[in-house]
């Protein structure tokens, strides 16, 4: 459903199916998962069994002795080939295989190689490691001043200026502290009519892409070719080159389709080990994780969020202080970016003059945490939209009315001081209220089934400043291809970007060939993450197509074709080259303007090139005897500017909301002494077809993004924002119970109901 009109060429705004649809429904789409190379070895790793411990010894003899094993390596073997074998996007803190000590259960300690995967797997089980256990820390707040220190020395990568001051720091688990201060927060609290203070928690969860993480490397005459299920081929090339001390042009990184990513396949994951192994063995090496192993590799941050608000007598929020603690696990991955980039939106989409924010990235002895569909935003919205609801209820104001009173409107400054632009927060809120029929009487249920409803609205800044480059190549027969390093992991970027090319060149989208990421062929892109591609790569693609169009027009002029002549493209080439020959290559490069936050105040007047806005409204039923919550209606609304392909973005909205539904209701990595105890689909449940509500609506508000390609911006994460607090708010509405920890299990709901009734359930 769209309210936007088609663009003139009829390509942008058109709901065509994905270009690769046929390949996907016939089982023939290309994934690294399918890849087999001649002479390929299969890698399987032995993993740490303690959360924090010095490696005393590693006995690989039984593994080596197993028939069919080609080689067994430990971290020390890697170090002989790569003297500084530590990688990571923010910190160079993660060893290719554990060195000296292990920092989380499941960390790779040794690797076995064989042609037969079963043999490699058996060999890995035969490796024996002796550890001297060390005290471990698992909780993000305890990590602030814990005696257990995960890294002896902090090693920032040098890429980000705001991490430089951490270089060489010792005896700390704080991998980034971000501070923001605007106005007079103390004054606001001193003069407040009401003060509200709450603490919220989120649990650690995992992306579980159905194509488990997989990478392969093959030695070539020139260097290395890496085939990888990665969302960031350009970064992989840069990081592998750095590790090997090679120029970028010796490393080729190729990415076909991805069987889901959601942030799990970002930056560098399995690529460093397969690259090292291919060089050491001089053979192609493939490493495929099992579903279980993914849980030891990357996850979404658990958080603690302390939020406090000052409210005046009219129900206007006058001050807010936020302290957010991000459980980053044993390796920083992109956690410090999450801490800052999401941290500055912690007070929510509200117009508050006096704001203080502290946001801390913390190392702990859990598996690493990174980006997961929202880059930290869903954790923040969970807290501030639950808190907002509690304030409204505390003041006896309708929750939607309270939001209207305080919402951040166009032109008003956000916490950083940046004035809001093209962020239709109010439209999103109003659309939800309209679709929920909010002002009409609501059926509250009877007997043991009580009904409730709730809303949640959130916003997100784009990761900045980042670069995208694209080529559009017009061939001599008039056909064309788009060369870009954006990775299509299901979000439909191949199709959307082809639509941009088609709109500019006035051709059918189906006739635009999209060349998949291959760093020997496709140009640089920062990564496919954070809903940045539509805006950044979309602009680069548009520029490249316009460049190609201008060059083609110039070529036409040079061979004497009159302006506006009705001539086929291939005739222009023929006139120019005398035969079917030549190319017209359009190049587009895009980096938006940006000002990083002041290192003391956290302020900036240009913090993001665009804002993403999303909100959710839900209706639920609670079984008051069991605590079961049944979602009966789910309404997702987003401002995405002008949708390039309305049908595809609509599935992005419901897909994001349903994924967040899992993180809200039941997904949870459970632990025993640092060991994840439910690392499989038997015990880590993700939403299935019975979990989705009977009534789902997706709405796109009428908006345009200034500076976006054809007014578009990213949308992959927006529908995650409001889901968790909307449901918690609805539970409160139904049964008067407030839950402050995710997931919202039936048990926690029933415990709340019984506690409130003065008849608590025993421990």
């Amino acid at each position: 459903m769209t309210i936007h009109s088609l663009m003139p060429a009829g390509q942008v705004g058109r709901s065509l199916p994905r270009l690769e649809a046929r390949a996907k429904v016939t089982g023939r789409a290309d994934y690294v998962h399918n890849l087999r190379l001649p002479g390929m070895l299969i890698a399987k790793v032995a993993r740490a069994t303690v959360a924090h411990g010095r490696i005393v010894s590693i006995d690989t003899s039984a593994a080596r002795a197993l028939k069919g094993v080609f080689a067994v390596y430990t971290g020390e073997d890697i170090r002989k080939h790569i003297p500084q074998p530590y990688y990571g996007p923010a910190f160079h803190d993660q060893p290719i295989l554990a060195l000296d000590k292990v920092r989380h259960v499941g960390e790779p300690v040794a690797v076995c190689l064989a042609e037969d995967a079963h043999i490699a797997e058996r060999a890995a089980q035969l490796i024996e490691v002796e550890y001297e256990e060390m005290p471990a820390v698992f909780d993000e707040v305890e990590a602030m001043d814990s005696k257990a220190v995960v890294h002896d020395v902090l090693k920032p990568a040098g890429t980000f200026p705001d991490l430089k001051h951490l270089h060489g720091k010792k005896d700390t688990n704080i991998a980034l502290d971000f501070h923001l201060k605007r106005g007079d927060v103390e004054g606001a609290f001193a003069s407040a009519a009401h003060v509200f203070e709450h603490e919220f928690h989120t649990q650690q969860v995992m992306h579980t892409p159905l194509e488990p993480m997989v990478s392969a490397a093959e030695p070539t005459r020139e260097g290395l070719t890496i085939h990888t299920a990665s969302q960031s081929p350009s970064f992989v090339r840069i990081e592998i080159s750095r590790l090997l001390g090679w120029p970028e042009n010796k490393v080729q990184v190729k990415v076909p389709h991805l069987g889901g990513g959601f942030g799990a396949k970002l930056y560098i994951k399995l690529e460093a080990l397969v690259a090292a192994l291919a060089l050491m063995t001089k053979r192609p090496v493939k490493w495929s994780l099992t579903m279980e192993e993914q849980f030891y590799t990357i996850s979404k941050h658990a958080t603690t969020f302390r939020i406090k608000s000052a409210v005046d007598a009219d129900g206007k929020v006058t001050g807010r202080s936020c302290a957010v603690y991000w459980n980053g696990g044993a390796y920083a991955d992109i956690g410090p970016r999450v801490t800052q980039k999401s941290g500055f939106t912690a007070p929510g989409p509200y117009d508050i003059d006096n704001v203080a924010i502290e946001s801390y990235a913390l190392y702990t002895n859990r598996p690493p945490a990174g980006a997961l569909r929202g880059f930290g935003i869903p954790q923040l919205v969970w807290a501030y939209e639950s808190h907002t609801d509690l304030i409204a209820r505390g003041l006896n104001i309708d929750p939607v009315e309270f939001r209207r009173k305080n919402i951040l409107r166009e032109g008003r400054p956000q916490a950083t001081g940046t004035a809001m632009k093209d962020a239709a927060i109010d439209l999103v809120l109003e659309k939800i209220a309209e679709r929920m029929n909010w002002s009409a009487p609501f059926d509250r249920g009877t007997g043991t089934v009580l009904r409730g409803r709730g809303v949640g609205v959130g916003f997100k800044a784009s990761i900045s400043p980042t670069t995208s480059v694209a080529f559009v190549n017009i061939y001599a027969d008039g056909s064309c291809a788009l060369y870009m390093s954006t990775v299509d992991m299901g979000q439909g970027s191949d199709t959307a970007m082809a639509q941009i090319v088609a709109e500019v060149l006035n051709v059918q989208t189906e006739n635009v060939r999209v060349i998949h990421p291959d760093t020997d062929v496709t140009p640089y892109d920062m990564a496919t993450l954070g809903s940045r591609s539509t805006f950044h790569m979309g602009n680069a693609v548009k520029l490249a197509a316009e460049d190609a169009k201008q060059k083609l027009e110039a070529m036409a002029r040079s061979v004497g074709v009159p302006e506006n002549a009705n001539i086929e493209t291939r005739e222009i080439f023929k006139k120019k080259y005398g035969m079917q020959a030549g190319n017209v290559m359009g190049v587009g490069s895009f980096i938006p303007t940006y000002k990083s936050p002041d290192s003391v105040t956290g302020m900036s007047d240009n913090i993001t090139p665009f804002w993403m806005v999303g909100g959710t409204g839900v209706e639920i039923e609670v079984d008051t005897e069991t605590g079961h919550v049944k979602l009966t209606k789910l309404i997702n609304v987003a401002d995405m500017g002008r949708p390039l392909n309305p049908n595809i973005v609509e599935t992005q909205l419901s897909g994001a909301a349903i994924m967040q539904l899992g993180f809200t209701m039941f997904e949870n990595m459970e632990y025993d002494a640092g060991q994840v105890t439910n690392a499989s689909f038997a015990d880590y449940k993700i939403p299935g077809i019975h979990d989705i509500p009977p009534d789902i609506e997706n709405h796109i508000v009428l908006a345009e993004q200034g500076g976006g390609p054809f007014g578009a911006k990213g949308v992959g994460e927006s529908a995650t924002f409001g889901v968790s607090p909307a449901i918690a708010n609805a539970i409160h509405d139904a049964v008067g119970v407030r839950l402050t920890d995710l997931p919202l299990t039936a048990e926690s709901v029933l415990r709340g109901i019984r506690l409130k009734a003065g008849n608590p359930i025993g421990e």
Binding site: E211, Q491, I648, M659, S680, I686, P687, P694
Partner: protein
Amino acid sequence: MSEHAKSISFELNGSKTEMLVETHENLVELLIRMNLNGARESCGQGLCGCCTVIVDGSAVSGCLYPAAFVDGKTVTTVEHLDNNVHLSPVQEAFIEEGAFQCGFCTSGFILMTHQLLEEKPKPTDEEIRDYLAGNLCRCAAYPEIIKAVKSAANKMARA
């Protein structure tokens, strides 16, 4: 091959086939050796359905099915549905309704839908959900999948 390997013969996508298989090899591993990539092992526990294969007319989880057990049986994979020519009504419906995103689980959903419509040509919403409850889609295209199953049922009823 180990000493326990067995020689089996079966019909694969309409062709008689003989293979030497390990007793510890599963059906997905065997199909990969035969260059069929449509059935994929994901959760490894029979819970996600990415590895769905049809054996003697019944859907099975290839990741939990010993390859040796297909001896004497008929095996059909997603690659057989279009024979490289015409898409099946189910495949067409999945495209038209946009019933997938990353596509990794799609083969499984499509094979299961074929089975469902063979058993129940006009399934209710509840029957669709019950039948597809053993297939997971992390992109959560479930609403579109339900629409696609109904649309495929209509296409087949018209045909």
